[in-house]
């Protein structure tokens, strides 16, 4: 039974060649049989096949990476698909910033970490404050809207949301403000 492994590249054949396995010699005693991808004869017909197989068996000493064994460890696929890699300390805490809107009676707070990029952030802001930001373009800022999303950066300057790469934005944004279009003119328009 141990012989099949060297010819069978199927990684589920873990009985052979695992380091530290003390029962290898015992397993070598069982007679070889025919596998679908193995054309060797049964031991009654050919003793030589056993010898070749044992030799090959010694060559197979590298441990097979566990991740390749189909169906091991026995965890439901659903659970496996939903496992998330361990997060580092920094990733667990959020980046909370206050969000205000001209004319709104109170502020909100959002965690910038939960968004993957600007489109998601804008959609969330639009839903939160019930407004439409309009189309963003590098040249003209937000077109076709009364409201413009802006933010205060580390230097204390008010910037147009969307100009800098997302990572840079999340690292430098201190607070958000949704300004009325008339007051936002002059921001970000070069």
């Amino acid at each position: 039974m141990a012989f099949e492994k060297d010819l069978n590249l199927d990684a589920t054949e873990l009985r052979l060649g695992l380091p530290g396995s003390s029962d290898e010699s015992a397993k070598n005693q069982t007679p070889a049989t025919l596998r679908s991808n193995n054309k060797r004869a049964l031991p009654e017909e050919s003793m030589s096949s056993n010898a070749t197989a044992s030799k090959n068996c010694d060559q197979e000493t590298a441990p097979l990476p566990k991740a390749q064994v189909v169906g091991w460890p026995p965890i439901r696929s659903y659970r496996k698909n939903n496992l998330q890699p361990k997060k580092s300390e920094g990733e667990i805490s959020g980046i909370y910033v206050k969000v205000s809107m001209d004319g709104a009676p109170y502020l909100r707070k959002i965690d910038l970490k939960v968004f993957k990029g600007y489109p998601e952030l804008l959609k969330a802001l639009e839903e939160m404050f019930k407004f439409k930001a309009g189309e963003y373009s590098e040249r003209e800022g937000y077109n076709g809207s009364e409201f413009v999303p802006t933010y205060e950066d580390k230097d204390g300057d008010w910037m147009l949301v969307g100009d800098v790469p997302w990572e840079m934005f999340t690292n430098s944004c201190k607070k958000l403000k949704i300004m009325k279009g008339s007051e936002a003119r002059g921001l970000g328009c070069v």
């Binding site: 009985r15 695992l18 530290g20 189909v70 460890p73 909370y96 939960v114």
Partner: protein, 579 residues
Amino acid sequence: MNMNYFPDEVVEHVFDFITSHKDRNSVSLVCKSWYKIERYSRQRVFIGNCYSITPQRLIARFPGLKSLTLKGKPHFADFNLVPHDWGGFVYPWIKALAKSRIGLEELRLKRMVVSDDSLELLSKSFPNFKSLVLVSCEGFTTDGVAAIAANCRFLRELDLQENEVEDHRGHWLSCFPESCTSLVSLNFACLKGEINLASLERLVARSPNLKSLRLNRVVPLDTLQKLLMRAPQLVDLGIGSYVDDPSSEVFSKLKAVIQLCNSIRSLSGFLEVAPCCMSAIYPICENLTFLNLSYAPGLQGNDLTKLVQHCRKLQRLWILDCIGDKGLGVVASTCKELQELRVFPSDPFDAENAAVTEEGLVLISAGCPKLNSLLYFCHQMTNAALITVAKNCTNFIRFRLCILDPVKADPVTNQPLDEGFGAIVRSNKSLKRLSLSGLLTDQVFLYIGMYAKKLEMLSIAFAGDSNKGMLYVLNGCKKLRKLEIRDCPFGDVALLQDMGKYETMRSLWMSSCEVTLGACKTLAKKMPSLNVEIINESEKLESEQLEFSFDDRLLVDKMYLYRTLVGDRKDAPEYVWLL
């Protein structure tokens, strides 16, 4: 006094008190008269293998059927060992029931393929339909869920557990009509997509009987707060997203409303979680009997330990191994009522960071005298530890140990784990379910055959030396119902020694073992009451098919056999050979 002198109605009334499936099955075997009375009064039927009987025969025997439980694919399908289209389709069942006059009210499915068409037909065919529970199923989308929501006027329970559902985005929830006020249980935690939060709030607001609510990841904390305001009577809560700034107003509101939810006994979810928010949960921890944090990413050992310290009444705990051995020690000293523990690996392929070892298990066994059910994924186990656990715990009904390296020996002694598992079966006489792992020889099976007299289900992987191992089990475990084996040196001799045994069992699965096609054919021929299926997916086979497909010496890759009253199934795909 002979019961046959009582009129049927009296006997039937007596049978009303007999509720377990096993008992009702026994009752029906006593005599013709009891068989008849029993079948007309039977309302709940459990079918452990959907291919053991046809829907037509079910309907013919139990015209009063109200609740049906069906299981489809073999257990190892959970681990990707069974191809997706192998079978287990529910549609023929629903079609047959719909045609009949059965007033179906409840359908519970596990590991079945459920199409949107099935769900739609189900939703339109049974006016009194009340309860749908789908566990580990696949094949449907949120459109099918929408049909259930829209058409089942008296729906009480919609429970979707760990299903692979294609999400067509959000509208299914809005399909519950305004007139639907009967919901008692709603679990949609496994759905990935967006839902209409306002619809959800309105639904909960008009469901005064709602006791169980499990949300999915997209439901944010502020919605959770609003839902709890509407449903402080909840008994079972599954939290979706649990992320906020602890200093925010929303979070304060949540803390306040949680204090009002003093009926919550079961808590799960936390599909997205900020550890700093966990303190809001502490007030309900006191009363919790079930806590499932096994899907909560990002909670470190400390967070888990702090939480568990508040859970003195806990009976069931499902947790990730990042709780660590020390954390399990805290569980052991706090949760004296603990009956069931499941420790899942947070990183199944990480060989280096040993989160839990045998130490954690020993601590639990010492501190939790009522422990009767265990699922434990760990990096290593020793015989000494298992022997200690066996001394401390003699009430195990389920004992499943999974050492992540499948053939790992006792790291201290380098011995196989035969003695450890032997001790477990020897001292736990009520053991019904056992899963083995680690380095194991035939000896462990000798012990199992000798001591595990009540064992019903056994899962074996990468274990044993010879046919003797399997034979010890088949000969000794008189109550065995399900046996599943992968990658073990068991072959024809073991398979064929006692063919009649398989008629006393539900099923046998053997994959990557030493069983030949010839032996399977022999078994199939001699035992017409068994279906013997061979699954051959190997691409390598195609080229050699001509030479080997009729060669009886061919080792089969996967064999699944099960007893049946209705012969070969007609829905098997090409690569499944029905012998």
